[in-house]
Symmetry: C2
Subunit: 153 residues, 2 copies
DNA sequence: TACTTTTGCATCGTGAACGATATAAATTTG
DNA sequence: CAAATTTATATCGTTCACGATGCAAAAGTA
């Protein structure tokens, strides 16, 4: 049993990785008609909560690097969902704001979380089990974020 | 509060997506010295459990599509970790087997799961909380797998 | 046996993710 | 105030992830 630990079955990360991919897959039927991807949907969620944010703030809220978010925003700009304007106080900043199309998409998207919740309930019989997971995931995310950052110093 | 549902904080998927990315990030210090990526590590886990498997079996165990796994295996072959030979009974199949280098890497990797467990314990104070998540994640994965498959029919 | 369908794998194109690096503007320091 | 440093964003290269498509071998069917 020397290599017992190396069994795929024993691994938490593999579960997270797979569950994330498959859950994102479950968004496809709802996001495809809108012509957006899941990461683009996340950017819209951030901007719907507060319009006109610099790239860095968006990246920070999504726990992503700016070199991931920049091309994402460029594609969203090309798709007519957002505009990127130079910052006024700090000209290094790019302020990202929603276009009319981006604002209007909120209405089309507002049912999506309910649809996903329903699907999870339908899969599992109960919702509670997954609501209970959320604080644990938040704790994990906060801890890993800190650990990974310390490595880069 | 019409759009309350859209708030990022309410989303399970975002947690899974972020936790998965950051956990994979936590593997970097252990995988970089071996010169492999996390998905490549997963392929090795599968092959260490059972050598000589067709592409399809590997993909299935990882819940990935073959068009993801094929290029992954091609890179691993170029790196000298695996060999891909034509199947004997079914010549359409490609049987993937470990090279000497791939077999030997098991010894170097065997401590990794313990290291990650320790890190999670250190982050959160206790392991139980995350062990408890595993059956829920498995239930979610199984359900989503079935749902997504039905969409492709 | 000829024909159709399915299966196993590969290729291509697009969109993330992210490390490394670049660049210009702001900030700090001497 | 000039020089060094930090910050905000962008660019580039590599590796996934996956839908769409292609192709040859196997399996099923008339």
């Amino acid at each position: 049993m020397e290599y017992e630990q190396l069994k795929l079955d024993n691994q938490l990360c593999f579960r997270l990785y797979t569950a994330a991919r498959l859950t994102i897959g479950a968004y496809h039927p709802y996001l495809d008609p809108l012509g957006i991807t899941y990461p683009q949907y996340l950017v819209l969620l951030v901007l719907w909560e507060q319009d006109k944010q610099p790239v860095n703030d968006i990246a920070h809220k999504l726990f992503l690097e700016t070199n991931t978010v920049t091309p994402l925003l460029q594609r969203m700009e090309k798709a007519g969902l957002v505009m990127r304007t130079k910052g006024k106080e700090d000209t290094r900043q790019r302020i990202v704001s929603l276009t009319k199309k981006g604002i209007e998409m909120r209405e089309q998207a507002k049912h999506i979380p309910d649809c996903l919740s329903d699907e999870i309930i339908q899969i599992t019989g109960e919702e509670e089990e997954f609501v209970r997971m959320i604080p644990s995931l938040d704790k994990l995310i906060a801890g890993l974020k800190q650990n990974n950052q310390q490595l880069n110093k």
